[in-house]
Symmetry: C2
Subunit: 356 residues, 2 copies
DNA sequence: GAATCGCATGTAAGCGCTTACACTTTCTAC
DNA sequence: GTAGAAAGTGTAAGCGCTTACATGCGATTC
């Protein structure tokens, strides 16, 4: 063994080989190889226009030859920004946030930003942790879903000077920049139509409202519509459940076995609605003849479900894109963007019918 | 103005205020405030056991009071690692990769790593770019989908010393560590059963095979089964299309209008299958009485579709979790993990019936 | 032809943290 | 009691990059 080790030292080449395997080329290596200063190499990378064409070509060739790529950490540290934007969403497991997020990312990428995602599993404590984690990782800005969270989180973000945009909700009174829609109004509009169709006994299968203002708003929207139309509050059966198709199915069964079963079942989101739909089928309950089912979100699932789901359309893509644009502008100008309200509106498909 | 500026200098306090608003507290600030060295503060954060309890308490209090949180870039630079793992997937827009990715992230989080996601939109060029981008951002390791990509990408990754794991595929001959399943074998198993049920005229609505080895393998799997069962190659109508429900619908229409329409239509993934299913319904074609439809992936959509989709179950969660575990081990030990083969198997639901 | 300008490039000072090493103090074992 | 180990802490050298500022030099102006 010692002999071998000794031998290795004899061959000068080996040192080079070892250097290659143990460490990547640095800016300095490139500068040395190209016969220029580190500043020039840095400029070639960041502000190519500032460098004479001949020099630039030489440096670019050297970069390619050495396979150099800038060290992220060093760059972050020297430039004091990461060009990274964080997004914290409740879950990645289904399409509710995926489409919006994809649009968000596309827009960010187009402007040279990278997206960092974290999911909370609908847990507030988890969210607080993820906010800290993303900020610690140098997220220059953050996207959050909904307004409702501990004030401490907002204080932290403000103290760290992290531009933060709220999406999936609209509440101008909050004073926080947001790109979203009015959950209550959208659900209210839908509920009005449902009531106008003659439905009197209603149910809402809702996501948990405790830390989810979107769910709460949707609930309030139905209540508002009922009040408008003179329906007493007790005509709404409110069932709160956690997220998932199965949960929707269970809740639907529960709703239908009530002493006064509803003729229209609202669901806080399409995933729950699809679960309800499946349960109806399994129980031989015909939709929409026996009961109407109404979703919220208009994710792909809604169109593919059978019967195609009547739901509230949410402009996911638009929301993601505009949120990214707002954040990019904020990062550039240093001034918070205006709050943007998008429209979410009922989409009539086949799971809602008049009650005769 | 000069007067004002002069005044500011008079008040010592102002300097402090300005420092507060313009920059976050640093390790050094904490050290100074706590009356210890920067090394001690660093230890409190990274190796608390090494610090005397009294000192630690004091430092922790100071950290809390100042609202200090370590600067990511500086940390990365000094420690030469980011604790970040990148994942590059074709798309985030639907559930195909979402569940696996969620499991991947959960496992990473549990071990103190953060996930960086990038999507390629099924474009090879885009993928090459994203690989570079994630590496440049300091991803310590990478998750990729499928084996097929330019050798240059593998060379780049090797040169940069980035542990990389392949998922959603299994090809021990590649010599690359992977956690996945044998797409060809899974599809072959399914196809055998379909043929055994009496189907002779088949179709495959496939994702584009050019840069997607999973799609290609699935195609080959059907061919293998046909050969086993003595069906001539021309009994398979092969339709290649891009990704999406709509695309599946269009391709299905095309398949059924062939001169020799298939009695069983395989789909390269559930999204295409659900599109086919919808198109069948819209065209008054009854599934599975008139035609059988078979998916692949077993995403949530498959269970919710009507009729529930017969498909090939892919162990998404397990795959994500194990991929993360493999990568974490690799990062720790420095030795590549063994390739893991998971089992993907047919799930019989209601869209496949015997051909009489 | 001297003064001026502006472009291309170089010099070098950090950015905020980790960590090897050194040092001091306290314990342990005989 | 003392040598040696162990534990706690400090010192200071970078990590690889960006960028303010300095420098050099050819082009322009009068």
């Amino acid at each position: 063994m010692t002999e071998v080790a000794g031998r290795i030292e004899i061959y000068g080449q080996c040192e080079i080989v070892m250097a290659n395997t143990t460490s990547l080329p640095t800016l300095q290596d490139v500068a040395a190889a190209a016969g220029v200063s580190t500043a020039t190499v840095s400029r070639v990378i960041n502000f190519p226009a500032q460098v004479a064409p001949a020099t630039r070509a030489k440096v670019e060739a050297t970069i390619a030859q050495l396979g150099y790529s800038p060290h992220f950490g060093a760059r972050v540290m020297a430039a004091r920004r990461t060009n990274t934007v964080g997004a914290i969403i409740p879950t990645m497991e289904n399409a509710v946030f995926a489409r919006g997020l994809q649009a968000f990312q596309d827009e960010l990428s187009a402007h040279g930003y990278t997206m960092l995602v974290a999911s909370t599993g609908y847990s507030a404590a988890n969210e607080a942790e993820q906010v800290k984690a993303l900020v610690a990782r140098g997220a220059d800005a953050l996207l959050l879903i909904g307004h409702k969270r501990d004030q401490a989180i907002y204080d932290f973000l403000a103290a760290q000077g992290i531009p933060t945009i709220i999406t999936w909700a609209f509440d101008p009174s909050s004073g926080r920049p947001s790109v979203g829609f009015d959950n209550a109004a959208a659900m209210r509009d839908m509920a009005r139509q449902v009531i106008d169709m003659g439905h009197r006994q209603l149910a809402l299968i809702s996501a948990e409202t405790a830390s989810n203002d979107r769910a709460m708003e949707r609930y309030l929207g139905i209540q508002a519509a009922m009040q408008d139309k003179g329906l007493p509050e007790e005509n709404l059966l409110f069932i709160e459940t956690s997220y998932g198709i199965e949960e929707g199915a269970i809740a639907f069964k529960q709703a239908m076995s009530a002493s006064n079963p509803p003729s229209a079942v609202f669901c806080g989101n399409d995933v729950l609605a699809v679960g309800a739909l499946r349960q109806a089928r399994d129980s031989g309950i015909h939709v929409p003849d026996d009961v109407s089912i109404i979703g919220f979100d208009d994710i792909e699932l809604a169109q593919v479900a059978y019967p195609p789901l009547t739901t509230v359309h949410v402009p996911h893509r638009e929301m993601g894109r505009l949120a990214a644009a707002a954040l990019i502008g904020w990062l550039k100008d240093g001034t918070p963007p205006n709050t943007v309200e998008l429209l979410a509106y009922p989409v009539m498909r086949s799971t809602l019918a008049p009650k005769d």
